[in-house]
Amino acid sequence: MKLTAPQRIGLAIGWLLLLGLLTAWISSRMQVSGDLRKFMPDARTPAQKLLLDELGEGPGARLLLVALSGASPAQLAAQSRELRATLAADTQFELVANGEQAGLEAFPEHLLPYRYLIHALPADAFSRATLGDELQARLQDLGSPAGGLIEPLLPSDPTLQLLRVAEALQPATAPQRIDEVWFDHTGTQALLLVQTRAAGFDPGAQQAAVDAIQAAFTHAAGNSGSRIELSGPGAFSVKIGNRTAREASTIGTLDTIGMVLLLWLAYRSWKMPILGFLPLASAGLAGLAAVALGFDGVHGITIAFGFTLIGVVQDYPIHFFSHERPGRSSWDNVRALWPTLGTGVIATCIAYLTFLFSGVEGLKQLSVFTITALATAALATRFVLPALVDPATRDFADSRPLARVWAYTRHLPQPRWSLLALALLAGAVVSWAPGPFWQNDLGRLTPVDPQDLQRDAQLRSELGAPDVRYVIALRGNDVQAALEASERLRPALDALVDRGALESYDMAARYLPSAATQQQRQRQLPDAATLRTALAEAVADTPFRSDAFAPFLADVARARAAPALQPQDLQGTPLATAVGGLLVQGQQHSTALVSLSGLHDIAALAAAARAQGGELLDLKNASESLVADYRGRVLAALAVAVLLLSATVWAALRTPRRVVRVLLPMALSTLLVLAVLRGLGVELNLFHLIGLILAAGLGLDYGLFFEHAGDSHADQLRTLHGLLVCSVMTLLVFSLLGLSSIPVLRAIGSTVALGVVCNFVLALLVSRHPLQEQADDRA
């Protein structure tokens, strides 16, 4: 098959169009999810379970703290009210609080009688004497300047039980109010609390939430000159995500320019950068398409890890280009390269297959993505690219500098025992370097500015917002059992608050007592006749009309006969959010959560929780142990992958000596990179691991090509050219990444860059074919 120049251009354009169509299809179909749960292994401990199944969207992690400043308090208060009104109408927010709802509105009309069941009543609450005292107090309330406020409440609630309940439902450490909305203690910042529906670690949803808040604020602020500040886990993840994206895109642009220049320099043709890019682009798109077809949604991490791992396919077209020479058909050329290239691709694909059996959704996706991508790139290089390249005008075997380099390398000694010494030394460093081997704190990978953290702590304490890390969980067979368990914990918690071990706590039972507690309170309510008599006697001594409090009698009677209030009765009321966030109802069991603010004595809290059959959960710990579990799966899969990969190489090369020559540089490089990282005090994380896997994949190809360099001196020079271009390009791309200020990018970049250097040098020293060279020398 030989195409004319216009046909080649047409084919290339057709390919590009196809890729464009594929892009459009994928972006219309694929849903990128940031839900970390998909990327994590199954939970084992209760804390992990809570983190993943139930608390994955924990109330603390979904809170955004908002501060408005930079205008007069009256302006800020007005903006706070407008912001609340706008956001409360937005379905992506579950709760928007700025102090405006003082609790009375939180109580829907039909639930009003339950005020006698939600809050504890003294034993003599309805005696003639107590009622008489209350009525006298109400008369004075009515005669006070605030009389207008009280009057509408009195007919049904002469003891102001509703105010007592509302007061009890207020956060213990509510911020001060100016113009009826929350302000910090200096009175210069209006404060709001916003709870998103989406999980805190879902970057897409958090970005949408942050954007909505910003837009609402811009509208509310007008040109008052006020500023908005957002804090909380979601706001941080958005901020860091954007910073990472910005930096990655800057580095990506530099990388692209560098790659284009390098390819142009290496091949002196403007077409090569474009043609060289086609297999990689096809690989990425095919990988995404396969994941989109096979899974519900693609995880963001799959894409990030996946695109890192398929960096190896950029080498495929380069090997092909470097072997092009005048007078030889591109098809013959690629056919000659195929055994070497194919061995590498097949071995790598088989290795990645192990991820498919890891039992973790995210790793399965990664497996499907990389295997599809590698196969696509290899097939594109083998079956499409030869049709597209222009006939070669030069042979890299004619390059004098290249010949000199190759001649020089041939005089290098082939190391044997020195490698063993190096391996032992590296092994020693890896084993005995001080400091922890693995870093499990995912938070350290995406560090929040200390300044932001300090600000967050400040806002959190002003708002009395709950701690993100610690929460008490009490499990029960059903909702009522969980509520009862948390009620039993209250005396101990109150004691801890008195002692200063804890500033405040919140639990569902505060808003919704257990049915047992409600029934007990019902039994304390007087019957209609008793209450009517007591009230009539009390009213007789006052200027109130005798029939003024008929609604009160009716409400108490209703409270006495009503079925106990259940969580589902609260649906649609502001109380539902408060209860819903703290009471998790599962199929088999329910969990009551106690959120904690201002923890000072963690041990005492843990002991108090244990005493009532609960547990103080450390969510940070839980997420770290999940990361460790995840890494364990990756490592186990990798161990199997190494065996499969070795077996594949063995099957292809057949002689032990050749197998060792190909695999030794790769294995040794991995050890060396580990030793350098450990020696520098770097704690390894998943991103280093992914970098090491990519480096090993590159090393396998380097080994195979050096080992298989070709039968003639000219072929060896062409191989050397290809490998030099490959490694310099990979080094360039990943060195730039290694210079990034973002730890995630730096981890991947530095690991791969180091790996490329080690692999190239070792493959050159170990894998090249000495016997063949000697034959050449004799020739």
Partner: protein, 217 residues
């Protein structure tokens, strides 16, 4: 109620009885002039009478007592009849002292009605026109012998509680405050000589007439 001692003439809000000597303005009055008349240094005090109507009551509740300003920053509302109650507003806090009960102290923010009272009274008493104008639009009418000053809230938060406050006075004396809440009935506070004149009145109509017409009759 008015202090019996000649030296301690009632001074709150410039509620002086000896107002006949005030030079009458030839034409109308303005807010600035009224405030200058009312401004009085602390300490000062004046009696008040309020009549509070409610559907819950057999007849309107008549409350008698005294407003006092022991110092420039403190406002005391002391009820004497029909019950004893002292409300002290100072330093952003409210203390309510009812006979036979421990005093209740809470932040002024929690009862915006009391905060409004202090904000408008405070400004009136110190003759601070600028501060009063920050919170209210002022509209004066009448003559020096018989003036009215209508305060309409500027801020939305305040407007949601109070529609308007109308002050009625004669010369240097503030005689009556009519507060029209956003919801509910008009409430009247008679002060100084008007309170004294209302000593035996229990009819709402008569009180209203006393408030608006002053002692002119």
């Amino acid at each position: 109620m008015i202090s019996g001692k000649p030296k301690l003439r009632p001074r709150l809000l410039g509620l002086l009885l000896a107002s006949l000597a005030t030079p009458a303005l030839a034409s109308g009055v303005d807010a600035g002039w009224i405030l200058r008349q009312l401004a009085q240094p602390a300490p000062s005090q004046t009696g008040f009478v309020e009549l509070r109507g409610s559907a819950l009551l057999k007849e309107p509740l008549r409350v008698e007592g005294q407003y006092r300003r022991p110092d420039a920053a403190t406002l005391v509302r002391q009820v004497r009849v029909p019950y004893a109650e002292t409300t002290t507003i100072a330093n952003g806090q409210v203390s309510i002292d009812r006979s036979g009960k421990p005093p209740r102290v809470f932040s002024l923010q929690r009862v915006p009605e009391l905060a409004d009272l202090q904000a408008s009274f405070g400004a009136l008493l110190s003759g601070d026109l600028a501060r009063l104008e920050q919170a209210y639009r002022l509209q004066a009418s009448g003559s020096a012998q018989q003036w009215q000053l209508v305060l309409t809230p500027r801020a939305e938060a305040l407007a949601r509680r109070v529609r308007a406050v109308t002050l009625h006075g004669q010369g240097k004396e503030l005689r009556c405050i009519e507060t029209q809440p956003a919801r509910g009935d008009l409430q009247r506070t008679l002060l100084g000589s008007a309170a004294a004149a209302a000593a035996n009145l229990r009819q709402a109509d008569a009180l209203a007439a006393l408030c608006q017409a002053g002692g002119a009759r």
